[in-house]
C-alpha cells in the first residue's frame, strides 16, 4: 500500500488477555519502529527492526511485550496478560535507511488504540 497500515485501529480487551497488533510498513522500507503514545508521556520507544540485524528491544517495558518482523516486512507486536497500564495508542513507523548515519524520514501509521478494562 501507499502508507504504513496498522490493525486493528481500536482494540478493547479484558485485563489478563493477550493481544496482537499488526503493522504493514511501506514496501521497501528497511527500518520498522514501534512506539507507544500515552497521554502526557509523548512517544515511548519500544522496539526497532533494521534489515536483518538483531532488533533493538531496549524499549520494551516488560517481558510481557514481544515483537516479530517476518520476512523483513510485516511486524506483529504481542502483549501477553494485558494490564490496565498497557492502555495506549501503539504507533508503528517505517523508514528507509539511507546509509551509515543517515536516517530517513519516519512514516507513521495511524496507530492501534488499545484499551484494557
Amino acid at each position: 500500500g501507499a502508507g504504513v497500515s496498522q490493525s486493528p485501529s481500536n482494540k478493547v480487551t479484558e485485563k489478563g488477555k493477550d493481544v496482537e497488533l499488526r503493522c504493514d510498513p511501506i514496501s521497501g522500507h528497511t527500518a520498522l519502529y514501534w512506539y507507544r503514545q500515552s497521554l502526557g508521556q509523548g512517544l515511548e520507544f519500544l522496539i526497532y527492526f533494521q534489515g536483518n540485524s538483531a532488533p533493538d528491544k531496549s524499549g520494551l517495558p516488560s517481558d510481557r511485550f514481544s515483537a516479530e518482523r517476518t520476512g523483513g516486512s510485516v511486524s506483529t507486536l504481542t502483549i501477553q496478560r494485558t494490564q490496565q497500564e498497557d492502555s495506549a495508542v501503539y504507533l508503528c513507523a517505517s523508514s528507509l535507511t539511507l546509509g551509515l548515519g543517515n536516517t530517513g524520514e519516519l512514516f507513521f501509521g495511524e496507530g492501534s488504540r488499545l484499551t484494557v478494562l
Binding site: 546509509g99 543517515n102 524520514e105
Partner: protein
C-alpha cells in the same frame, strides 16, 4: 546512549507572534535531529531534519531550527504563528550509526490564540 529533553510541555502564543519550542539533546556521537508535528487526530509528520550539513535547517510551514553543538540544543522557531500551527511538537534524536533507534522527546503542545 542518546536522549532528548523538551524544556516546555506547553507553549501559548498569539497569532502573528514568534514561536520558540526548546529542545536539548544528549548524544555520545554526532546526532541526527528531527522535529515532528502531530495535529489533533492526525498522524505524525516530519517538519525538518538536521544531519550535519547546514546548522540552520528550514522545514515546512515556515519553521526552522538551529543546531548548536556547544549548547547541545536544537530549538524550533517560526517568526509568526498561525492558528493552524496549534499542535503537538516532538524533538527527536538519533545517533549517527547504523541501527540506532530514534528517540522522541515528551512533546510540547503549542496553543495559538487569535
Amino acid at each position: 546512549a542518546q536522549s532528548v529533553t523538551q524544556l516546555d510541555s506547553h507553549v501559548s502564543v498569539s497569532e502573528g507572534t514568534p514561536v520558540l519550542l526548546r529542545c536539548n539533546y544528549s548524544s555520545s556521537y554526532s546526532p541526527s535531529l528531527f522535529w515532528y508535528v502531530q495535529h489533533p487526530n492526525k498522524g505524525l509528520q516530519l517538519l525538518l531534519k538536521y544531519t550535519s550539513a547546514a546548522t540552520l535547517v528550514k522545514g515546512i510551514n515556515g519553521f526552522e531550527a538551529e543546531f548548536k553543538k556547544s549548547e547541545t540544543s536544537f530549538h524550533l522557531t517560526k517568526p509568526s504563528a498561525h492558528m493552524s500551527d496549534a499542535a503537538e511538537y516532538f524533538c527527536v534524536v538519533s545517533e549517527k550509526q547504523a541501527g540506532t533507534a530514534l528517540i522522541f522527546g515528551k512533546g510540547t503542545t503549542l496553543s495559538v490564540s487569535s
